[in-house]
Symmetry: C2
Subunit: 379 residues, 2 copies
C-alpha cells in the first residue's frame, strides 16, 4: 500500500470562538495521532501521517459554517472497515458541529473494499426482472411462529414479489429461531417459485452473536437464500459485509441503530454518506432507508442524495438499489416511481398486512400497481 | 426464558403536536412489531409482545418534555447484545426527541449478559494496587514503529504505571502490525516488571476485521496480556465482549465512534447509559470516557452519572472502573481524585509525552502526583 491520500469533507460549525483553522487542525490531529500539537514528531508532519487541511470554504450565506476538506494517508485507515471508521469519525464523534458530507476514496481503497458484488444489474439478472422497480417487502410481525411467517412468505411469493426480507426485529428468538425460520421460509418460497415459474428471493436477518453469526450466514447459503439482511451497527460494521462476501450472498443493509448519525444537521454523517457512500463501498447491493413522508425524519433532498450515492457513477464500483421504506403504501407506488425511477427496490411492509388478509392478494396488488405505474409513465 | 419484562425510560420531547401518549405508543410499536396499530394481532397485545407504556411523567418546569417508561418482554431481546440494542434503540434512532435515560434489566438478563468478570476488585487484586486510583496511559502516536512503542511502554512500566493501553488509533497498520506490536510491547513490559518487582498490565487495541479479530484476542492472551481495549462501535457491540470472555481477558472499553449517541441532549442515550449501564452489563471492567474540562463535550454531571453507572450498586454485577481521559494532565490529578475518588483509572495520554522526553520520568511524576494527592486527602 502506497502513501496515497483520501479526502473527507467535514461541514464544521464551530461551537466556540476559536478560528476555523484551529477547528480544522483539531480534526486532523484527533483522528490520527491524537496528541498535543507540540508533541507531534517532525517526521510525522513530513510523512503526512497527521491529517492535512486541503481547503476551508466558508459557505455562502451561512455564517459560522465551513466546508473543511481534509486528506488522510490511506495506509492509516489500512483498508479495514473498523480502522477506516475510526479515522473518519472516531473521537471527533464526541465533539460537536462536525458533519461528514463527502468522501473521495483512492482507487486502491475502492478495490480493497470492493463494493457491491451483484449490484443492480446482478440482482436484476438473478431475478430476471427488468424495466421496473423491484417489489419488496418485510415479513412481520415479530412473535408469529416460523410456520406463520413461512405461510405469509409463500403468499407474498405466489403474489409475485421479487424480494422478501425478514423484518429486522426477527432475529433468533424462540418464537422463530433462525434456522427453523429460514428453512421453513425457503421451503415456502421454493414451492411458490415452482408454482409461479418466476423467482422470489428471501433475505433473512443476520444479527447473531459473534459466535453464532457465521453459522447463520452459512446456513442461509446452504438453504438457498440469495442474500442476507445486514444491520451493520448491530453486528459490527465489518461483520455482515465480510460474511456475505465469504458465503456468496447478496447484501441488503438495514439502518437500525444508525439514526443518531443523521438527526442533527450539524453533526454526524449525512444519510448519503453512511447508508450510501460507505455501505455501497463496503458491499451493499440494496440499501434500505426510511423514505420521506413516512414515519421517519429524512427529508426529500436527503433521500435523493442517498439514492445518488448508491446509484451514481463511481469508478470501480457497481451501483446499488436504493430501497425507500418506512410507512410506504400501495397508493404511493406511482409517486415513488416518479421520485426514484426504475432502479429502485420499493419496500412496502406493514401496509401489505393491512391491504388484505391474503398475502397473495396484497402482493399481487403491489406488483400490479407497480406495473401500471411503469406503463403509464412509459406511454 | 420466561416472559419477564425489562424497563426502559425514554425522555421524549415530541417534535409535533400529537399527544405524548401517541409518541409513547409509537415507541412501543416501532421497537417491537413495527406494523400499523390496526394490523397487530389481538394475541400480540394479550401476550405483551408489543411494548407497554408503564408511565408517562411530565417533567416539572420543562414544557413538552416527558419521561416515558416502557416495558418490553425480555424474550424479545433474547439475551443477545445485537438483539437487545435493536429493541432499545433500533428504528427509533431514526426519529427525533427520544433519549434513553434509564434501563432496569431483569435478574435473568443480568445473569445472561454477565457484567465485568474482574471488576474493580479483580483488577486491583491482579495488579496488587489498593487505596489509590490506577495510573493509566495510552501509548501513541500512531505511526511510530512497534519498536519505538515498545520502548515507550517499557519506560512507562519502569516508571510505575499500572495500566497501559494502545492508543485507539493503533490497529493493524504496517507501522505497527498487531502481532509484532503486542509481542514487542509485552516483552518490554515483562522486562520492566522483572526490574521493578511490581506489575504493569498492557491492553492492546482489538479492532481487526471479522476474520482476524479472534486470532488477535488469542494472540494477546498467549502473549500474556491481562486485557484488551475494546471499541464496541467499531467492531460490533458484541464482538469484543464475547472474545474477552472466551479468552479470559479483562475489558477496557473505548468510546470511539459512539459520540453521536450523546451530543444531542434530546436524542440518543446518555453517556451513563451507553458507556456505563450497557458496557458494564456487557462486560467492561474499565470504561474510558472523555472527561469534562478536556477536549470533549461531556458535562461534569454527565461524567459523574457515568461513574455512578459503572460503580454504583447493581444486583449481580461487579463494579467497573471509570476512566476519565481526553486532555488530562499531571497537574489535574488532585482535582480528578477529588472529583472521582479512589476507584478510578486515571488516564493521562499525550500530556505524558509532553512532560518529559523520558517516559519513565513522566510515569513516575504521574504516580508520585497520584500518591501525594491520595495522602494529602487522607491526612
Amino acid at each position: 500500500m502506497t502513501a496515497e491520500r483520501f479526502f473527507v469533507t467535514y461541514r464544521v460549525t464551530p461551537d466556540d470562538s476559536r478560528p476555523i483553522e484551529a477547528h480544522a487542525k483539531d480534526i486532523c490531529i484527533e483522528e490520527t495521532v491524537e496528541i498535543p500539537e507540540d508533541a507531534i514528531p517532525a517526521s510525522h508532519w513530513e510523512q503526512g501521517i497527521v491529517g492535512i487541511v486541503e481547503s476551508i470554504v466558508e459557505r455562502t450565506g451561512q455564517p459560522n459554517d465551513y466546508d473543511v476538506r481534509i486528506s488522510y494517508r490511506a495506509d492509516i485507515a489500512n483498508n479495514e472497515i473498523p480502522n477506516l471508521l475510526n479515522v473518519l469519525f472516531g473521537n471527533i464523534s464526541i465533539r460537536r458541529g462536525i458533519k461528514i458530507i463527502d468522501i473521495q476514496f483512492t482507487d486502491e481503497q475502492v478495490k480493497a473494499f470492493g463494493g457491491p458484488r451483484f449490484g443492480i444489474d446482478g440482482i436484476r439478472q438473478a431475478l430476471n426482472v427488468q424495466g421496473r422497480p423491484l417489489a419488496t417487502t418485510a415479513i412481520k410481525p415479530l412473535g408469529l411462529s416460523a410456520k406463520e411467517l413461512a405461510a405469509l412468505c409463500g403468499g407474498y411469493a405466489r403474489g409475485g414479489l421479487d424480494v422478501i426480507k425478514d423484518d429486522h426485529g426477527l432475529i433468533d428468538q424462540h418464537f422463530h429461531p433462525f434456522e427453523d425460520r429460514v428453512s421453513r421460509i425457503q421451503d415456502a418460497i421454493r414451492d411458490a417459485n415452482a408454482k409461479t415459474g418466476r423467482l422470489t428471493h428471501y433475505y433473512p436477518m443476520l444479527a447473531g452473536r459473534f459466535d453464532t453469526i457465521e453459522k447463520q450466514a452459512a446456513f442461509a447459503k446452504a438453504q438457498g437464500c440469495f442474500g442476507v439482511l445486514v444491520p451493520p451497527m448491530l453486528i459490527g460494521p465489518d461483520t455482515g459485509f465480510y460474511l456475505a462476501r465469504k458465503y456468496d450472498l447478496a447484501v441488503m443493509t438495514h439502518p437500525t441503530f444508525t439514526g443518531t448519525h443523521f438527526h442533527d444537521p450539524r453533526h454526524g454523517m449525512t444519510p448519503a454518506i453512511l447508508l450510501g457512500t460507505l455501505f455501497r463501498l463496503f458491499g451493499a447491493d440494496i440499501s434500505v432507508f426510511p423514505n420521506y413522508g413516512g414515519r421517519f425524519t429524512f427529508s426529500e433532498a436527503e433521500c435523493q442524495d442517498l439514492a445518488s450515492a448508491l446509484r451514481g457513477p463511481a469508478v470501480g464500483l457497481k451501483s446499488a438499489f436504493p430501497s425507500p421504506a418506512g410507512g410506504m403504501t400501495i397508493e404511493k407506488v406511482g409517486a415513488m416511481l416518479d421520485a426514484y425511477g426504475e432502479d429502485t427496490a420499493l419496500l412496502i411492509g406493514g401496509a401489505l398486512l393491512r391491504y388484505s388478509p391474503d398475502p397473495e392478494v396484497s402482493a399481487r396488488a403491489f406488483v400490479t400497481a407497480l406495473e401500471q405505474a411503469v406503463s403509464t409513465k412509459k406511454v
